[in-house]
Amino acid sequence: MNIYLREMKAHRTGLIWWCIGMVGLVASGMAKYDAYQAAGVSVQEMMAGMPKAVLTVFGMTGFDLTKASGFYGVLFLYIGLMAAIHAALLGSHLVSKEERDRTSEFLYAKPVSRNHALTSKLLAGLTMLVIFNLATLLSSFYFVNLFGQGESVGADIRILMMGLFLMQLIFFTIGTAVAGVIRKPKAAPSIAMSIMFTAFLVSYLVNMSENLQFLKYLSPFKYYDAAVLMADGRLDPVYVALSVGIVALAVLGTYRFYSARDLSV
């Protein structure tokens, strides 16, 4: 419990800034929608016939930009990107920070096992992911309703936020697993970030070419594609199963490797 509280406190300021950032992202994004609407630009019907490649370039595949929900769908890509950065950094920092700050000797001289410390850290991380998600969820509800002109978007936002949470879990546990395996504490966050960035690039590659569809399983950004989620109104069970599998494997890996390796002191 001490370690849990200690971690919550250590990450408090950072988490507050992240939440402010997410509220700001949703608010400014939806405010732009308002301006866009006010300007009376109605390009939707003309866009319907646009080729996929061109729409991809502008990040607008499959959305009705005249509606607040469609606009929010475009925004969701960036919400997901920020959430992934937050989750991967959080996971890798939580596990690697004791070694980085040379406090692992202090921590493990206490009567706690590595598994116990790790469990506390993972729970603290999980709590922070939930807080992050709630901040995004509530600000999304508020701002989409504010600018939405009475359009009902509750269901869309709920499904997107469920997807977002699974995506956060994936990147969080990838972060912890990397930090659990890698012996150099400073390299762990960088490696977690490069995995995240590669996944981001792969999602664009998949959008660009029909021939690369098989790559979509490699990128969690594609598992929870806003256009698909909003059209189907539910999460794809294949991707949910895949996500749960990745998370389970990563958590298992974190425990196995972290409790078995030499800590660098």
Binding site: G14, G21, G49, M50, L81, P189, L201, Y204
Partner: protein, 266 residues
Amino acid sequence: MNVFLRELSAYRKSTIIWCASLSAILIVFMALYPAFTSDVAATKQVLGQFPEALRTALNISLSDFFTIYGFYGYLLNFAILAGAIQAMNLGTGIISKEVAGKTADFLLSKPMTRGRVVSAKLAAAFTIIVITNVVFCGVSYLAALMVATETFAIGTLLLLASTMFLVQLVFLALGALFAVLIPKIKSVIAVSMPAVFTLYIVGTLGDVLGNDKVRYMSPFKFYDTAYIIKNVGLEGKFIALEAAIIIVAIAASYVIYIKKDVRASA
């Protein structure tokens, strides 16, 4: 000179990894170019039916978009995003690592002014950025040679590639400024990633909406590829803006670092 050489060798491995990753991004995307061009004719026909106003609003000029320049300009977005992370990491890390690594009192007790320390470190960072860009331009040219279906002007391509360098310089300067402003940086990447991606999202959302004012707020949008392809030149006002940002950020870094209370390691 010692500090300069020390930093170059300290960053050697990371520079090699960055050059390799940037080249990989280039090559993977460029390899898609043939697939992308295969249905050009059909796409052009569809696009041609749109009213002129819409096409300009979306900033697509038909002739450019499917050329090697247009395609390269598109993938450049991602390469520049990665490059910005490198530059910001470098700028923040090279200044803040003495405090984080508890070597600040070792370095600053040497017979060397703080101003010179900063100069040597920034010169090293600048050199690393130059090296990265030389590699990047070279790989760009070779990749374009391999996939291009028609001959292309090397000047335009290299001018496009040079925007990477210009954007990296902005982020290098911003990174140095962040390093002296934030009191205790334990993890460089936790500072640089949110900063880079915030500016990236600001720029891209502005793009989706066709909002021109946003261009002044995000370094990613300073150099418009369509403009470069058309005019084979950069927009003067953005170069001036960039120069102003860099001068202010670097000057502020010097002033603050020279006066600041650097934490001793004890």
